[in-house]
Amino acid sequence: MTTFVESTVRFPYKRSLGPVIGQFMTALTERRLLGIRAGDRVIAPPLEWDPETGEQLDPELIEVGPAGTVRSWTWVAEPSPQHPLDRPFAFALIELDGATTAMVHAVDVAEPGAMTTGMRVAPRWRAARVGHLTDIEAFVPGEEPVVPADDAGPAAEPVTMMGYEASIVYTTPLPGNQERAGKAAARGVLLGFRCPRCGRIYSGLSGSCPVDGLLLSPEDDVELPQVGVITNYTIITPVQYPGQTETEPFARVQVLLDGVDVVLAYQPVADLPNVDIHTGVRVAARWSEADGRKVLDGWAPTGEPDIDDPSLVNRIM
């Protein structure tokens, strides 16, 4: 019976906009739409380079729209969380007046029967605009833009950055060796794997012998010793990013367990100040217990003499 693990990966991007897209986004806060000349064409929304020739385009933008013509459309009956509207809507290719190319955006109508190729649409503006494509809440049928009564007005400063956050939920099957290793760790046991061909013993979550190109199976499980040596390390000065909980410089070490061929990578330490970490320190696993399960807190010095082997530092994977 396979165990599935659910995880949510967030991608909170912040992007600089540059001279062309920045102008476009700034204009959105002013309820204006801009395009850029590229030869005989007017590209809207604007790009920095001519898609045909690769030439940089003159960043002298021209106003287009605000109304436009639907060149194609589709009906989204079940919106995803990332779609601009949380009720059924149309995606459309909209050629803004004065432009020769189409932009993708949502059209807010009640049902697909309200959509036709060639129909006229205009933007419905958000009251509070930040310089983001969704400052246009959606397009609506007709010639006239819709402006909310509580319009907050344009941005005080030119818009130079934009945020974009995606969030994807993954449901991933847990490989058998990882499940066995996880269950062993909950008992305070480090599980490893012995390649049946070359005899190398692997630590960590590897389910295969990369040297022999061989998948390992439960018969290859071995219990590992919990004493080894630090081969290499890094001291990390935390920068704040979403999900970062560390505030002070912290260490991650590579530990080569006795009799094992591959290091345990990126391990925390216990009772070992950053200044005392170096290649060759003998360490042992330090466990604590929570809710009846063992948790590896980190690797603590055993007090034994250092291992003096300059080649150890190369053992990083």
Binding site: P45, S72, T74, S80, V104, T172, C209, V211, D212
Partner: protein, 353 residues
């Protein structure tokens, strides 16, 4: 550079399924073992490997690194990765063999689409300013292009349903296919739309799977097999990323790639096309200049199984199979990537007379 020809000498696919319990690395172990065995070599004989896969599909940064375990790291190998379908990995491997210093390469494609909703994954590959913030997903893009073709009279909904019924009928003979069976076109046309004008049958299934192809140079290929499938033309071409900038009634990059691959030099008997959506078949056959005498997707194509990142490389395998197992002389495989057929690859293969 050498002009010595390169041939496909072995391949393998996993069964294509809605949801696998295997990791991507495990899928690759299966196909790399299978493809090397098919070619009559071991992992140690492989000089270069190139993988096509996608971190956003896998949901893990640097997911391709652990996949290298499946190639076998000893003796040390030259390795590369493309964040593209495995067909582009094969292209890179083919280019690598042109350098003339190594003889054997393997290309893989792998993906597990089952692990997340593809509609939330796809926008991650879009323009981050104008497209991704709208959650612009692959099915919506396809539907926008389908309507343009319908409005232009280049395809009808009935023709689209006919493509689906033919593909899934053909897939009954394909042991690797995920969706197959006899379907009635009139019944299909009674279904509701998923993304108007696309119905369920116009869309590919969500598929997990992987495949691998072994290629070899000149005499090495002849030494390994009496039936090398020679790659006689190979090219790819891209168009602007934004669908709104392009004439979506045609596929200019497909035509350009086909010309560069020398498709016009002689007729082909079979074409395996990455028609992920039904309306794309009419568009692509026109872009490639294929007449009604050419058999399209006898494997069932992507409408029968769509392992994202392996779908294109599977087309190469299925076309090569037509040469090696069914006596065809000249075939083509097509792969695509990006919104509304943005980037297209054409591979022409021939048997030895």
């Amino acid at each position: 550079m050498t002009t010595e020809p390169v041939a496909i000498v072995g391949w393998a696919l996993t069964p294509m399924t809605r949801r696998t319990v295997n990791s991507e690395a495990e899928l690759l172990f299966e196909v790399i073992s299978g493809a090397t065995e098919h070619a009559g070599i071991t992992r140690a004989d492989v000089d270069f490997s190139c993988a096509g896969s996608c971190d956003y599909v896998a949901g893990q940064a640097f997911s391709f690194v652990q996949n290298i375990d499946a190639v076998g790291a000893w003796p040390p190998k030259r390795d590369s990765h493309v964040e593209m379908d495995g067909a582009w990995a094969l292209y890179e491997a083919w280019v690598r063999l042109q350098l003339g210093d190594i003889d054997v390469a393997i290309a893989t494609g792998s993906g597990r689409s089952s692990t997340a909703d593809p509609a939330t994954v796809y926008p991650m590959e879009m323009d981050p300013y104008y497209l991704a913030p709208l959650g612009a997903d692959v099915v919506s893009f396809a539907a926008l292009q389908a309507r343009i073709l319908l409005d232009a009279g280049l395809v009808t909904e009935r023709q689209m349903a006919t493509v689906a019924a033919r593909a899934r009928g053909a897939a009954q003979g394909n042991p690797y296919a995920q969706v197959s069976g006899e379907f009635d076109v009139d019944a299909l046309l009674e279904d509701d739309y998923v993304r108007n004008p696309l119905r369920r049958h116009d869309l590919p299934p969500i598929t997990d799977g992987a495949c691998a192809v072994v290629i070899a140079r000149g005499d090495k290929a002849r030494e390994l097999t009496d039936h090398p499938v020679w790659i006689t033309g190979f090219a790819h071409s891209a168009e602007p990323h934004h669908p709104g900038l392009r004439d979506l009634r045609v596929s200019a990059s497909t035509t350009r790639a086909a010309r560069a691959a020398g498709l016009d030099a002689a007729p082909v008997e079979v074409a395996e096309l990455q028609t992920t959506f039904t309306h794309e078949e009419a568009l692509l056959t026109t872009a490639l200049g294929l007449g009604p005498e050419v058999a399209i997707n006898p494997s069932g194509g992507p409408l029968a199984a769509n392992p994202v990142m392996a779908t294109g490389l599977t087309r190469v395998i299925e076309a090569a199979r037509q040469v090696r197992d069914h006596g065809k002389q000249r075939v083509l495989a097509h792969a695509t990537s990006g919104p509304c057929l943005q980037q297209n690859l054409v591979c022409v293969m021939e048997g030895t007379r």
